[in-house]
């Protein structure tokens, strides 16, 4: 899959206003002409199936424990229990997990943006000894599932003295083959004349990268940001292996210990779950276009 610099990301934009300018109505526009399309009969059940687990979680998170055991839900406006959310914050080091996850995610995203930009630019524009071989080696690591290498990775991180620290979660993920490839492909689509002109004017390589290339690379950097954010925020297996004291846990890991101790208090568990998703949901609604594009390009990972 090739990442394009233009804004027409796959699946990102829904065609709307241009319908009137098309020469003659196709099947799609004829559908739109009807107030009710038969496709709603298919799409409404699909939407319900997709939304019910989330709606049910939200409803449960606002109930008393007793109410959670009744159907249909007894949720009345006057009995909405926002207290569940504060109870979670009281019962578990939830704020701590939140901060840990934020630190790990932000540092990892920043590291990827910096190191992948530098490396991506080198692979795109600078001819240096061993470039092709190294690039192919890096691409090859995309084919290796993490589960295959997690045992030696654990040993390396342990030998570096990082087990049970946030460093274990950050350092191995500061740069990735995916980001390098994504940015290299993007940089290669930019007009090279611009960079050459700046070089002739005496700009350094670094200056060219930061003052000319990166400002033109907004969409690619945004895609890398949201994808790295998503992967880091949601990662579970690696924290599970490397972190064992509650104070150093991330949200995903914390949620599993919270579930272990609050198996009965479903309402609190659901409140905790809602809170754990909020940042990702927020980012999704703010940057849906980049999420969609990012998800569509993770195809590179396979």
């Amino acid at each position: 899959m090739i990442i394009q610099p233009s804004t027409d990301a796959p699946g990102a934009d829904i065609p709307t206003a241009d319908a009137a300018r098309l020469p003659r109505p196709t099947a799609r526009e004829r559908d739109a002409a009807f107030l009710f399309s038969r496709w709603h009969l298919v799409l409404i059940p699909i939407a319900i199936a997709m939304l019910i687990p989330m709606v049910w979680m939200l409803v449960t998170s606002l109930e008393t424990l007793n109410q959670t055991r009744h159907f249909p839900p007894e949720l009345l406006p006057h009995s909405v229990r926002v207290r569940n959310y504060t109870d979670v914050l009281r019962d578990a080091p939830f704020a701590r997990w939140f901060v840990n996850t934020m630190i790990v995610t932000v540092v990892t995203v920043a590291g990827n943006l910096l190191f992948c930009s530098l490396a991506g630019y080198a692979f795109a524009r600078i001819k240096f000894f061993g470039r092709e071989v190294v690039f192919i080696l890096i691409l090859a690591t995309l084919m290796i599932p993490f589960q295959v290498v997690m045992i030696p990775t654990f040993l390396i991180v342990r030998d570096l003295g990082m087990i049970n620290t946030l460093g274990a979660l950050i350092v191995p993920n500061l740069a990735g083959a995916f980001g390098i490839f994504l940015l290299r492909q993007f940089f290669r689509t930019l007009p090279v004349e611009l960079e050459e002109a700046a070089r002739i004017d005496g700009a350094s390589r670094l200056g060219v990268l930061f003052k000319i290339v990166l400002p033109l690379s907004g969409p690619a950097l945004a895609t890398l940001t949201v994808i790295t954010f998503l992967w880091t925020w949601n990662d579970f297996l690696w924290p599970l292996i490397t972190i064992y004291t509650p104070n150093n846990m991330t949200l995903q890991l914390g949620l599993t210990t919270f579930q272990g101790t609050h198996q009965i208090s479903t309402n609190l568990l659901m409140a905790a779950n809602v809170m754990s998703m909020l940042p990702v949901l927020l980012l999704f609604f703010l940057a849906q276009r980049f999420f969609i594009r990012g998800i569509a390009t993770t195809g590179l990972k396979g």
Partner: protein, 295 residues
């Protein structure tokens, strides 16, 4: 003079730019692949000094009933997850690829689960499918069915995981298919309409062949992911009830990090790697013969 030329050369600046990332990927991406291979010929519990034992780990693997079971479960899971999510994604994408009211809402509803973590999704489904108070059993009770144990039942646990992960991943397939559908030239569709193609004929002879590359990609990608199933099993069933949901990565994890049989686990990891790569190659080879590329 000569030193200055080297300092200003592209070789040096190229390496200076690439070095931090290349170093990190070398240490945490390439070294572990080789180390894993070495570990698979050793006996070690991660603490003791490893001892070379030749191919003993691989020999033991061949006659390990729990490994055989785990591999079977992984394959059954993949055989269900891949077609269900790909076909479901295709169907949903076709329904969503039109200008009707509320299509933005429908798309968002389908996309959101993709960004949720495996653990968050598992917590929701544990509650939804709870044997005593879960919504699904309440609803089934209304029509005189159940209650079913879902994750608690030896026969249903793996299928429940299939259902849950299809819910979580179908949006990914939809995104890929929508992108591919929007790449179909309208002229082609119009030409077929003029030639009198009906809805089904159009789908069978125009749309489906043009979606071939997307389908091939999704089949390869979903298969790789299916063989790596872990989070949901670890969190919900711990491989149980009994060994009903033991899958390869869960077995590998429990050997290496809970039972301290790391060398043996590394052998399983390598078998998984080779299985994944071979499956991918076979799919790509078959895809080459079946898939039509427009350009």
């Amino acid at each position: 003079m000569r030193i200055r030329r080297i300092l200003e050369s592209d070789h040096l600046s190229g390496w200076a730019f690439a070095f931090p990332a290349v170093f990190l990927i070398f240490v945490f991406g390439i070294v572990p692949v080789i180390w894993s291979a070495l570990l698979s010929f050793q006996k070690t519990n991660l603490l003791s000094v490893p001892r070379w034992i030749g191919t003993a780990n691989y020999q033991a693997l061949a006659s390990d009933p729990l490994f055989k079971q785990s591999a079977e479960h992984s394959l059954v899971y993949a055989a269900l997850f891949v077609p269900l999510s790909v076909a479901g994604g295709l169907f949903t994408a076709i329904a969503l690829n039109r200008r009707i009211r509320g299509v933005r809402f429908y798309r968002t509803a389908v996309f959101v689960p993709v960004i949720l973590s495996t653990i968050a999704t598992a917590i929701m489904f544990l509650w939804l499918l709870d044997p005593n108070f879960g919504l699904v059993n309440f609803l089934l009770g209304r029509v005189g069915l159940g209650p079913y144990g879902f994750f608690d039942s030896a026969t249903g646990a793996l299928y429940s995981i299939v259902g849950m992960t299809v819910w979580g991943w179908i949006g990914f397939d939809v995104i890929i298919y929508l992108a591919a559908l929007q790449g179909i030239p309208p002229a082609l569709v119009e030409a077929a309409e003029i030639d009198g193609a009906r809805t089904w004929g159009m789908f069978r002879n125009i749309t489906l062949p043009l979606l071939g590359p997307a389908t091939l990609f999704l089949v390869v990608w979903s298969s790789i992911n299916a063989l790596q199933l872990f989070d949901e099993v670890y969190f919900i069933t711990k491989g149980g009830p009994g060994t009903a949901t033991y899958v390869v990565v869960y077995y590998l994890f429990s050997l290496a990090f809970q039972q301290g049989v790391a060398g043996y686990a590394a052998a399983i990891a390598y078998v998984l790697l080779i299985a994944t790569l071979s499956l991918t190659l076979v799919q790509l080879w078959a895809g080459k013969r079946l898939v039509y590329y427009a350009s």
